[in-house]
């Protein structure tokens, strides 16, 4: 029986990862098109260009699998699977809703970090096994980058863990139910900073721009997957997008209140519905399911938002140099994360009893105000987005736009 349950869960997760990968590829194209004025994605592929992705999938499925002559076949084959397994296994401990998790672990976040750290190895093997110096360089760079970015990432993860006092993601996100000010990102200055630091590290961890030195086309052709094609190649990208959503999910669960809607005075949904439909004595599992479905939706939306931010950053910022990447990690992010860790410990011990919960309210208010102001600016400027003939965008332009610059469409 439990065997069947395990298989079902695995299938669900696989479908989710693969599906989200497909969705992300589509989203990436659209975002890139929007941000960089790439006309293709805004035109082809039927409505919203959904056919393009399907075509890509079919192409990858039917494409021939090349193995270079002086590659090490075994390692060459092993690479993608290991990478994908790394990313995929992380989902085992990722709760999508209250109690909806494949393998409830009391050390879920630790487990996720651990298995995601094995993804490196697949990339190394791929880079080495390809028997190409570009692949080798890419793999080495990637490995160095991921190994070193794991450290500040783990430290930043520890910050909310200290606040919550547990490594159980489910428990942590339940702690953040209720008003948006209960989210740990607003809990104290250190968690606030830890969120941004974590997000940076996570971006680098799943080798997204501006840290995608591995596939720096300008320097090495396509990094560790230069020699790959077809399905194995797509495994890498499934791993990448899976990892993207995984780290985003971790961020959501740790900082952004997990599946809590953030609406004030709304407690955790599933138990609410359960007691609402049933009673406090015997809560109805239907209400539980309904609440959890809403939770899943909320959670996934939050995760997708973060993924969208990652894409936004990717298509906005230029790529760093490898030594700059390393310097950023080891000279800046690592000390910062250490300071955050110490600071949050001190805060929890000494400061928190005095300022709770007013600091949360204040920080939350400030951030919301800031966000609202930025959204307002974006909204107001987006209505008359100037597109210059050179195609460069200028978001923060003030004042009337010279009419000859406005492109008639």
């Amino acid at each position: 029986m439990d065997l069947v349950l395990a298989i079902v869960e695995a299938l669900l997760l696989v479908t989710f990862v693969a599906g989200s990968a497909v969705f992300f590829i589509w989203l990436e194209r659209k975002v890139a098109g929007r941000i960089q004025d790439r006309l293709g994605p805004t035109r082809v592929g039927g409505r919203f260009g959904w056919l393009q992705t399907i075509a890509d999938g079919i192409k990858l499925l039917v494409k021939e699998d090349l193995i270079p002559a002086d590659a090490d076949p075994m390692l060459f084959r092993l690479g993608p699977y290991i990478a994908f397994c790394g990313a995929f296994t992380a989902y085992l401990a990722l709760p999508f809703a209250n109690g909806w998790v494949a393998k409830p672990l009391s050390i879920a976040i630790f487990f996720m970090l651990a298995v995601m750290s094995t993804e490196v190895f697949g990339i190394i093997l791929a880079g080495y096994g390809s028997g190409s110096k570009w692949a080798l360089f890419g793999g080495m760079r990637e490995a160095a980058q991921m190994v070193s970015y794991e450290v500040p990432m783990a430290l930043c993860v520890l910050v909310p863990v200290i606040v919550a006092g547990s490594m159980d993601l489910n428990y942590i996100s339940n702690l953040q139910a209720g008003g948006i000010w209960n989210w740990y990102v607003f809990h104290d200055p250190f968690t606030f900073l830890a969120f941004w630091t974590y997000f940076t590290c996570a971006t680098a961890q799943c080798k997204r721009a501006p840290f995608d030195l591995a596939e720096a086309e300008s320097e090495l052709v396509a990094g560790f997957h230069t020699e790959y094609s077809g399905l194995r190649w797509s495994f890498f990208f499934m791993a990448e997008y899976g990892a993207m959503f995984a780290v985003s999910g971790i961020a959501v669960l740790l900082f952004l209140g997990g599946w809590s809607t953030g609406l004030p005075f709304v407690p955790e949904l599933s138990s609410t519905f359960a007691t609402w439909l049933g009673s406090a004595e015997e809560p109805s599992w239907l209400g539980w399911v309904i609440g959890n479905v809403i939770n899943v939706v909320v959670f996934i939306v939050k995760g997708w938002l973060l993924v969208f931010v990652q894409m936004w950053v990717r298509w906005t910022l230029p790529r760093l140099r490898i030594d700059q990447v390393m310097m950023t990690c080891l000279k800046y992010l690592l000390p910062i994360s250490c300071v955050l860790l110490l600071g949050v410990s001190v805060w929890q011990l000494a400061v928190s009893p005095w300022v709770e919960p007013y600091f949360r309210y204040a920080l939350c208010g400030v951030c919301l105000a800031l966000f609202a102001w930025m959204a307002w600016k974006v909204w107001t400027t987006r209505s008359r987005l100037p597109v210059t003939v050179t195609g460069a965008t200028n978001l923060w332009n003030r004042g009337p736009i010279p009419p000859e610059l406005v492109q008639k469409s």
Binding site: L136, M140, R141
Partner: protein
Amino acid sequence: MALTDVLFYLLAAMTGICALAVVVTQNIVRAAAWLLFTLAGVSGLFFLLGADFVGATQLLVYVGGTLVLVVFGVMLTAQSPFVNMRISAAEWGIALAVGLVLYGVLAASFLISNPKGVGDAQLGREEMADSILLGQALLGQWQASPQGTMSGLPADIHLRNRLAVSYLLPFEIVSVHLLVVLIGAAYLARAKRRRLAGPASLPVDGTDVSPPVDGQEQPLGAQT
């Protein structure tokens, strides 16, 4: 033949076979790959045993850290991946013989001493100390000292200093030791000038392993 038993046999088979593969393979990078599966299998066994924390640590430290380190070592020190470092068949024979004897001795030792095994404990019984218990033991809040005389300790030791035994101090010591080791390793392996002038011989597969200049391929040396 419960599911856990099946899983055990699968994982054990994978672990053992990959370990043997580590021994027999001649390509060091392949050996590293086999070692990866071995370690992963071991961690899987830990999860199977219910030791989640240890398993996760195994994954994080070994697979994510040590093994990558090893592979980096391979990459940094590879003249050519297929350079011949074989040993004579005689040595193979000796090593295998000794290994078999050792295995026989080890197996015999506990098979003979206790044919039926310690109790009839089955996997799945939830008596494994979970991570919370582990943390409490580290902090000394939960009694973490041997109770029985199996370890040669007197039977009443837990009566007197039951709460006293805490693994926090060893843990701290180990962590400090780890820090010291990392610093020392970074110092040892810092980027030095090669003794031999001129570029190293190019490997047959064209992998350029000339000494790193900006340290981008030398995680030990350049990053600290």
